[in-house]
Every structure is written in C-alpha cells, then in structure tokens.
C-alpha cells in the first residue's frame, strides 16, 4: 500500500505578486474524502489558491506540505485549468498524454482515452484536432485528461464555466462518481446551484483571505460572515 498524499497542509501561506498581496496569510488542511467548493467574487483568489495547493506558484511565505513527501506527489494529483490548456494533437492523444508520460503502451493508453472520452461525451471527437473543439468540448477534454490517471486529489477551476445545463449535469455526475471512488476534489465555481449540489464543504474567499469555511448545509442555510451572506444574495460587495 502506497502512503496516501493527503492530508495537505498549508501554513501561513502568503502569495505576493508585483508588491501586491494576492493571497493570505492563510492556513488550511485538506483531508478525508469529499468535495470542497471554493467560492468568492472575481479576483478573490480562488485560482491562486488552487494553483498554490497544486504547487504551480512560488509562495512568498509559509509552507505547503503533502503527507507523501515524495517527489511524485504532483503526478498523483490533477488540475483542470480555468482556461483549458490543450496540446496541439488529436483529442485521443491529448487525453492519453498523461498515460504516455507514465510509459503506458500506446494501444492501452488509446483504449483508456477512448473510455474517458466516452464518459465525458467526446466519443465522436477522438480523431479531431483539439483546436477545433468548442469551448465546452475543450473543458470536457481537460476533465477526461485529468481523470485518466485516477488522481487521488483533483483540483478544478470553474470546470463548467462554458457548459450548457445538460453537460454541466453530466460533468457533475462524473465528479460525484470520482468522489465516491475516493478522489478528493477541490474546485471553484460561481454557480451557486452547482455548489449546493456538489459541495460537502465550502471555503469562502474574500480579498485573498479565507473568511469562512463551513459544511455545505450550514453555509447555505446561514453563512456566518457578512461577505458570504452578501455574495449568496448576489449583493454588490463593499
């Protein structure tokens, strides 16, 4: 049995860019199972926090520690970017790429990519160049690629931002299935309905600070902070 990479612990993390404080100082722990949903207004630091957790940003202060401590912790996580980053290849090859990196034989990787594509509704697009996909299809591709290694932790940055209602529901069911299979999910969304449907836990960010963390039911029933209450009501924040 391999040691799990969770819990993830952030201590007094601060991120500054160009003399401005973008995030923190904040401390938090990700452990157990379930889906954590990050909420907060535009520019509140959701993307930045997800990137810090995944190790894509050089933090100014504090520590980010994974339980595993091993170097390959990032290979056991996956990240779905707010704007999908697609390689200039066919859809099938894009989805299979993480397996290719792991040395999985081409045929096996392709077969698995076809399964993943079918799961996200891209079965007909396997041989298309990734660039011709629609915005929503690109997001689905990014999700299929993220899931192909069955990551222990999955970060998603507004994964349904360009999706129609039906696709959103499909993606949500894929995410809950992944959660039930043991993948720990941390995601951001502006879609309150989606947050209600998916979240086990909510983190509310405001001005780069984690102002509220709560169990989903409690958060939506009665947020403790004025900022979160205003955000839920759709008020303009001060």
């Amino acid at each position: 049995m391999v040691t799990p990479i969770l819990p993830l612990t952030l201590r007094d993390v601060e991120l500054r860019r160009g003399g401005r404080r973008i995030l923190g100082p904040l401390s938090l722990t990700v452990s157990g199972a379930g889906i954590t949903v990050l909420m907060g207004p535009n520019g509140s630091g959701k993307t930045s926090l997800l990137r810090v957790m995944h190790g894509l940003e050089r933090i100014t202060r504090g520590t980010v520690d994974w339980q595993g401590g091993a170097q390959d912790v990032r290979a056991r996580q996956a990240f779905v970017f707010q704007t999908p980053i697609l390689m200039r290849r066919k859809v099938a090859d894009c989805i299979a790429y993480p397996l290719h990196l792991d040395g999985v034989p081409r045929k096996a990787a392709r077969a698995r990519a076809a399964e993943m594509a079918a799961a996200v509704g891209l079965a007909d697009a396997l041989d298309k160049p990734s660039a011709v996909l629609s915005g929503g299809e690109k997001q689905k591709l990014a999700l299929a690629r993220a899931l192909i290694r069955t990551p222990e932790v999955l970060f998603l940055d507004e994964p349904c931002a360009n999706l129609d209602g039906r696709s959103t529901r499909e993606i949500e069911s894929i995410l809950t299935r992944a959660r039930d299979a043991g993948t720990r999910i941390v995601m951001s969304t502006h879609d309150l309905g989606q947050a209600r449907r998916l979240a086990d836990e909510v983190w509310f960010l405001y001005g780069g600070l984690l102002v509220e963390t709560a169990a989903s039911a409690a958060f939506f029933a009665a947020p403790r902070t004025a900022q979160a209450a205003a955000y839920l009501k759709g008020d303009l924040l001060p």
Partner: protein, 234 residues
C-alpha cells in the same frame, strides 16, 4: 535583346538534355547547402529550445548576440572564414580552403543564427502555452522537450527551410572560400555570376531557372507548413 532570347533557347536545351555540367553544379549546390542546413539545424534547434525553456543569467545577452549575428553580411563571414582557413591562418593546416567542406562551414555560420532564432521563437510560444500543463502533469525535463519539439515540428521545419533558402541563394561567402573552381567548388550562384560575366547567358539562365525553382519549392513548403499550422490540422 537577341542574345537574351538566344540565351533562353539555350537554357531550355540545357535543361531538357540534362546537361552534365548543369547537373554537376546543381548537385554540388544541393550537397553543400543541405549539409550546411543539417549542421545549422543540429546546432540551432537544440540551442533555440534551450534558450526558450531555460532562464539563465546570460540569456538576454545570448539572444542579443544571435540577433546581431543574423545581420552579419555573408561576404564578411566569407572573409573571416577565409582568413581562418587560409594557409597562414589558425586552421590553415587542415588544407580546407577551396573545398566544398569550407563552403559548408561558411554557409552553416551564416544560417545558424536564423535557424536558432526561428526555433527559439516557435518553442518559446509553445512553451508559454504548455508550461502550466506540463508542470501539472509532472512531465520530466526530457518529456517536456520531447513534447515541445514534436508539437512544434512544423515551425522547426520552417526554421530549417528558412536556413536552406538563405544558404542556397548566397554567393559572396562561397565565392571567397570556395573559389568557384570548375568541377570542384562551382555551385549555382557562383556559376551564374561567372557565366553572366562571360556573357554566356544560356548557361546562366538555365542555372538561374533551377535556383528559382528551388527557391519557389522552399517557399511553397514553408507556406504549406504555416497553413496547416494555423488551419489547425496537425
């Protein structure tokens, strides 16, 4: 006017009869320039990729130097190579002056900066696109370079073609270091210069047509490559 039309007729005859001299000159031209392109590509592609991916202290200096070298007049490169390989020069003992080898060296020096520069730009743009993804997927350094070279292959081929196109039409440097010796170092451009000087328009025009044909072929290839790139068909 008359000599021109006579020349055209003669050029046509030389071309359709596969004239031996014409053939030999063209073959040597291709051999020299393809070799120079190969050398420039072997240096330029890895160097360009290296410059695009790595942040090191002298990076800007190297790039500035590269741009300066691109503007170097070929005839001056020829002069410098001549001095280095001349009998009393530092590499004179090699006895390479007036051989195809030294012409390859001169052409390679002229086009390596261009090949490097185009490769650098292409890989840099692709790296900007792919950076976060490849880091996120935990790709090793070597896997990252493989991905960039493979997905950037069209742009890299364009770089090599641009180098070839510039080298095949160059005359000053190869004239100086090669000497335009019949059956030894005579290539398309130097032969055209010579034949024109002699008033042998037939041969000059026939050589010129071949050179134009090669230039058009290269440009067509570059065009097709860039079209497939933007037309998002890989």
């Amino acid at each position: 006017m008359n000599s021109i039309s006579l020349g055209l007729a003669e050029a046509w005859r030389l071309l359709i009869t596969f004239d031996a001299d014409l053939f030999e000159i063209t073959a040597l031209s291709l051999r020299v320039t393809l070799s120079a392109t190969l050398v420039a590509t072997l240096i330029g592609l890895p160097l360009g990729a290296w410059l695009a991916i790595n942040r090191f202290r002298m990076r800007r200096v190297v790039i500035a130097l590269l741009n300066a070298l691109m503007g170097l007049p070929p005839v001056v490169v020829g002069l410098l190579v001549y001095v280095v390989f001349s009998r009393s020069g530092p590499l004179g003992v090699l006895g390479l002056l007036y051989t195809p080898t030294v012409m390859v060296i001169a052409q390679a020096i002229i086009i390596t900066p261009i090949v490097t520069s185009i490769a650098h730009q292409a890989i840099r743009d692709l790296w900007a696109d792919y950076h976060d993804l490849l880091i996120s997927l935990n790709a090793t350094r070597w896997q990252r370079i493989q991905a960039l070279i493979w997905d950037g292959r069209r742009a890299l081929m364009t770089a090599a073609l641009a180098g070839f196109g510039r080298a095949i039409g160059e005359v000053g440097a190869v004239m100086i270091v090669g000497g335009n010796i019949d059956h030894a170092t005579r290539i398309l451009t130097t032969a055209i210069a010579l034949e024109t000087g002699k008033g042998e328009f037939g041969m000059a025009l026939a050589l010129g047509f071949i050179l134009i044909g090669l230039a058009i072929a290269v440009n067509l290839a570059v065009h097709i490559l860039s079209r497939t790139e933007t037309g998002s068909r890989w």
